[in-house]
């Protein structure tokens, strides 16, 4: 190990031959689930973002393939059920998914095949982290990455309820919640996410959020020249903006794209929940197993009020009844 890895600026750059020390440190964490007193970070990382340009995406699934390979997951071999989506949904072993929508544009009378890479949006104001009762199971770094720390996860599913994008999936065998990490392990050594690197048409770009917004504006201008008057950037402010953003031809109707929320917000139940102070007793088991570097700073006494517990249960019950509620196109 020699010098500290640089901040990642591009998905295309190859790593140097010599090993680099991680540049994503425990001290770069700014928020921790069920933890109030996170130490102030010593430095501020440049916010990063993944930009997904749906107008360049051909739905090839190279991103899914790269995601499986990099994360060494093992999705089930499913069937064909009459659509191009495979697996059919996000799973604890499939963190990203191409979703295909057949759309007849009533304005132009043109048929459009809208293809969107679905996955964690890495919200600036992450509902999953807010909902999570397990200390240290979900963390947010100052560069914007929201990461799940499986060793601290208790598999309760509150994060699923807290997510306005319906992203996390609970493993029935490992009893932990899984989702896209924005390849935090790659970003830590100066690399962009595996999906961005694998994308053959540069539909997925990765860099500083500022650069990605600039790139997006360039793309929006091009799309407008092609008659997409409502082309725009999807960086929803209801969740404080996101570190995964989309360029959409129809930014005025995000829900056309397989139910991308038009105006995602954290559920009022989670928002009203007296967040950071809560901790959950049943997380003890999970914590006992924690051996990660992060353990030290995230391990806290576990306390939760009966009221908070009740609210959380209500939330989960509510969500279970209508899990796709905000995703109907």
């Amino acid at each position: 190990m020699s010098e500290r890895a640089p901040e990642p600026v591009t998905a295309a750059a190859n790593p140097p031959l010599q090993p680099l020390a991680s540049n994503l440190l425990p001290s770069d964490v700014i928020r921790v689930s069920a933890t109030s007193d996170v130490p102030a970070p010593e430095r501020e990382l440049t916010p990063v973002a993944k930009l997904i340009d749906v107008s360049k995406c051909i739905g090839c699934k190279a991103c899914q393939s790269a995601c499986i390979e990099w994360n060494d997951t093992h999705p089930d071999l499913e069937e064909n059920v009459g659509v191009y989506e495979n697996p059919h949904d996000l799973t604890p072993d499939m963190f990203t998914l191409m979703r295909f929508t057949e759309y007849e544009n009533p304005v132009t009378n043109e048929f459009e095949w809208l293809i969107r890479k679905d996955g964690c949006m890495h919200c600036a104001d992450p509902g999953c982290l807010k909902a999570c009762p397990a200390p240290g199971a979900i963390v947010q770094y100052s560069n914007g990455i929201v990461d799940f720390i499986s060793d601290n996860c208790i598999g309760c599913g509150y994060c699923v309820a807290g997510c306005p994008f319906n992203i996390p999936r609970i493993s029935k065998t490992a009893h932990v919640s899984k989702k896209c990490t924005l390849c935090s392990d790659r970003v830590a050594v100066g690399q962009g996410p595996a999906c961005a690197k694998a994308c053959p048409t540069k539909a997925i770009s990765f860099g500083t959020k500022e650069d990605m917004v600039t790139l997006a504006n360039e793309r929006v201008e091009d799309l407008k020249s092609r008659g997409y008057d409502h082309a725009g950037l999807y960086d929803p402010q209801g969740v404080g903006g996101t570190h995964v953003m989309y360029v959409l031809h129809h930014a005025d109707q995000p829900s056309l794209y397989s139910g991308l929320p038009d105006d995602p917000r954290i559920s009022p139940v989670v928002r009203g929940w007296k967040g950071p102070a809560k901790t959950v007793g049943l997380a003890v088991a999970g914590l006992a197993a924690a051996g990660a570097v992060l353990h030290g700073i995230f391990a806290r006494p576990n306390e939760v009020t009966a009221h908070e517990e009740g609210e959380a249960e209500e939330l989960v019950t509510h969500r279970n009844h209508a899990p796709q509620g905000d995703r109907e196109a």
Binding site: E78, G82, E102, T201, E218
Partner: protein
């Protein structure tokens, strides 16, 4: 490709027709998204299905499978009618002004000279009018009714927008919008590129589809220019290399041909290959054929090839038929005429048409040898896999030997991409188990066979015994040795013909280029077009310098492109007659008053004066051919012909079925279906999730597209009671398959002559081996007939029927 992948970034308009670049060539397609992003290029997709390429297109138009010629001739008609012609280009760089024999003509969908019995044309009259000195008669004013331009105009007159709409099923407004976009690139500063693949080749008139686009591009002045060209996207990563080194049964390396049995000696063979210029002063580069041929024969037989024995010409096999293509071989096999079949890196059981016939052929072999890194269906053709391979194993006597080979990631060598770049690669992994490189396998077989000939003699042992085999380790020639052999060496010191004191190449040294090759036995080269790829300066194919001084995407120091490291073929045509670029903003090369120079290797002698030497240096005319003379079996102009199986009659002649000169064996003719029994048009294609029949062996790819399906419109689903995700049976006159149904808005019924034509889309990636679910391929259904010129099977347009089926396991 006339151009290169990287060159697509220079274009103003991309037309993807006869291919599905995003789906089948996703990595190369990045240059299309690049052109769109940074140049504002527009993308047109014409395809029976709204495919993945269409999903990012500016304009999409549907077309009935097998009707591309009508579309293209209609586009040419549009350009002529609306004066969307690059006149300076057409008049100077094509044969538009040449006069054609008065006997040439056409009527009722046929050209003159048709012999129904022979299924062939007498092509004698399909030629130019010549002057007494053998040069071509021309009319630069384009007024003579017999000039190519006026004949072309007359030929395309039938292809009106109404005609195109009726035949192709393409809505007229959409078709005209596309014609307008295409026509706009006739401007000197606008360029269109054409990307096509097997969607054009896999038809009984595949070569004519491609000619149609080549002619259109010539009329627009788009060939030879950055951002232009006619670009074949090759379906395998090294299929370009396969044709380059002459692996087709009638080819020799570097696009020379094998002799026929009538060409019994070298002089006779060469007598028809003089390639004397038809227009004075033209390059006619094939005049050099003797140099390439003798160098090739010296590479084959070394010192045993001498002037006295015609350089070993007699040892080359001679063809008794036009070629032994795969259809002919498997037809012979099915009749029990083939004993032993070596199947190297190929999976015929899923790749060749009419699978029942393929199985029958393989079952009649005595010995099948497969050389492959994977467990192919072909190697297991004798195993019963229920409905997925319903054979009676006990009745199959064929012995199968499987020789495990290495895959591309386990070996070293050059892979030739669509843009003719020879890109050297190094092994990334150690071969598993007993797997051996193909070179090791073939060398060991050869040495054992040679030993048998030495000991026991045999019929005609000379080609085997005399074969040059001077590798360091004869049992495993190294990739570098083979590459250098293809590049070629000087066998004696070569002197400059104009200055005998000047040494060009020392004896024993690698050749710097094919320009120094000789026909006197003093040079050897296995594949003349590869000369320059491995020189005394080293392995040019291993270069990885991506600098691009002209910012025009030529990357001359990145690997090596044949010929001569040239990135855009016919690039002299990127300049006007005086040698200035048509579009100064897209300069590739130009005449600087003394020589041609710029950012590409000029495709013309560097001192060839503009206005005298024309750009198309490979033709004896020096120009490109709008009229193909007698060089195509099915006509000098593309004419609309229906597929062999079609729901639509040939509008010119209802009696014609398919391509009237395509070869079809009697039994296969009987196995053609009609639209009465098989009302729907099927077409085959690839998906991005898979690569042919390889990736179904990979778990990850299998997860992403796990199961065989067919795609149909909502209208056809409703008509047949088929539900989304339901199981269906699809059958043709030759076989049946079961699949899941993808019911989609991306396929719509096409209205042809007022009647709906339904399309059934059949992807090709499944079989009964590997990690994915067991399934079928389209080849269980497709007809055993190919293109009239090269016999590529007609996989892209055939007739089927479809119905809902019980779930697997349930009684059907």
């Amino acid at each position: 490709m006339t151009n290169a992948w990287t060159d697509i970034k220079n274009t103003d308009l991309v037309i993807v027709m006869g291919g599905n670049a995003a789906e089948a060539h996703p990595c190369g397609f990045k240059w299309v998204t690049e052109a769109k992003h940074h140049r504002g290029a527009r993308l047109i997709v014409v395809d029976p299905r709204f495919n993945r390429t269409a999903s990012v297109a500016d304009v999409y138009a549907p077309i009935r499978p097998g009707s591309d010629i009508a579309f293209l001739m209609g586009a040419i008609r549009y350009c002529i009618e609306n004066d969307k012609v690059q006149w300076d280009y057409v008049k100077n760089y094509t044969n538009a002004t040449y006069l054609v024999n008065p006997e040439f003509g056409w009527a009722d969908g046929l050209f003159n000279g048709y012999d129904e019995e022979k299924r062939d044309y007498d092509r004698t009259a399909w030629e130019y009018q010549l002057n007494e000195d053998g040069t071509v008669k021309t009319d630069p004013t384009l007024t003579d009714p017999r000039c190519v331009w006026n004949l072309l105009k007359e030929h395309v007159a039938a292809y009106t927008p109404e005609f195109v709409e009726n035949i192709c099923g393409t809505p007229r407004d959409r078709y005209l919008k596309i014609c307008e976009m295409i026509g706009a690139t006739s401007a000197r500063d606008k360029v269109m590129t054409s990307l096509y693949a097997l969607g054009w080749t896999q038809h009984s008139k595949g070569a004519q589809n491609i000619r149609g686009m080549a002619m259109l591009q010539l009329i627009l002045g788009n060939v030879g220019l950055p951002g232009g060209g006619v670009n074949a996207l090759r379906g395998h990563s090294n299929i370009q290399g396969l044709t380059d080194i002459g692996l087709l049964s009638n080819s020799l390396p570097g696009y020379m041909n094998l002799a026929t049995e009538k060409e019994t000696d070298y002089a006779t063979y060469m007598s028809t290959r003089g390639n004397k210029p038809l227009v004075p002063g033209q390059t006619s580069y094939w005049q050099n054929t003797p140099k390439f041929m003798v160098s090739f024969l010296k590479a084959m037989w070394g010192s045993a090839a001498t002037k006295e024995n015609d350089w070993g010409f007699d040892w080359l096999p001679k063809l008794d038929v036009p070629y032994y293509d795969i259809l002919r071989m498997f037809d012979m096999m099915s009749r029990g005429e083939v004993n032993l079949y070596f199947c190297q890196g190929f999976n015929p059981l899923l790749s060749f048409p009419n699978r029942a016939k393929v199985t029958e052929g393989l079952s009649k072999l005595k010995l099948l040898v497969t050389i492959d890194p994977l467990q192919t269906e072909t190697a297991h053709f004798w195993e019963n896999h229920g409905i997925y391979n319903e054979v009676d194993s006990a009745k199959i006597m064929t012995e199968v030997l499987q020789l495990p080979a290495t895959c591309f990631a386990e070996d070293e060598g050059a892979t030739v991409n669509s843009g003719r770049w020879l890109q050297w690669h190094w092994p990334g992994a150690t071969p598993p188990g007993d797997a051996k490189h193909d070179t090791w396998i073939l060398a060991n077989i050869f040495l054992r066979v040679r030993e048998l000939y030495r000991k026991e003699g045999g019929v005609c042992p000379d080609p085997i015994l005399n074969l040059a085999w001077d590798y360091k380790d004869p049992y495993e020639p190294e990739p570098a040795e083979l590459a250098q052999e293809m590049n070629g060496r000087a066998l004696q010191t070569l002197y400059d013909p104009t200055d005998p004191t000047k040494v060009l190449v020392e004896a024993g040294k690698l050749l710097p280029n094919f320009g120094v090759m000789r026909d006197d036995g003093s040079t050897m080269a296995g594949c003349w077009i590869y000369a320059g790829s491995w020189t005394e300066d080293g392995n040019m194919m291993a270069r990885r310098d991506n600098s691009d001084p002209g910012e025009i995407g030529t990357y001359l120091n990145w690997t090596f492109a044949w010929p001569a490291n040239r990135r855009i073929l016919y690039n002299r045509a990127s300049c006007d007659l005086e040698g200035k670029p048509w579009d100064p903003a897209r300069k590739l090369i130009e005449w600087n008053g003394e020589r041609w120079a710029g950012f590409d290797v000029p495709d013309i002698a560097v001192t060839a004066k503009p206005e005298t030497v024309m750009p198309f240096i490979m033709t004896p005319e020096g120009t490109a051919r709008l009229f193909a003379r007698k060089l195509m079996r099915d006509g000098p102009f593309p004419i609309h012909m229906e597929p062999f199986e079609s729901p639509v009659e040939n509008p010119f002649n209802a009696k014609l079925r398919g391509n009237p000169v395509a070869r079809i064996f009697p039994h296969d003719l009987e196995q053609l279906g009609t639209s009465g029994d098989f009302p729907f048009v099927a077409t085959s294609y690839r998906l991005t999730e898979h690569f042919h029949f390889w990736t179904k062996h990979s778990r990850v790819n299998a997860v992403l597209q796990p199961e065989f399906f067919v795609e149909i419109s909502e209208e056809l689903a409703a008509e047949r009671g088929i539900t989304k995700g339901g199981r269906v049976r699809v059958w043709s006159a030759r076989g049946e398959v079961w699949a899941k149904a993808v019911v989609t808005k991306r396929i719509r019924p096409l209205i042809c002559n007022g009647k709906p034509v339904h399309v059934v889309g059949i992807p090709l990636h499944w079989g009964f081996m590997g990690a994915a679910r067991k399934g079928f391929g389209p080849n269980s259904l497709t007809p055993f007939v190919g293109d009239a010129n090269i016999d590529t099977p007609e996989f892209k347009a055939f007739l089927v029927n479809i119905e809902p089926a019980a779930e697997e396991g349930a009684s059907a």
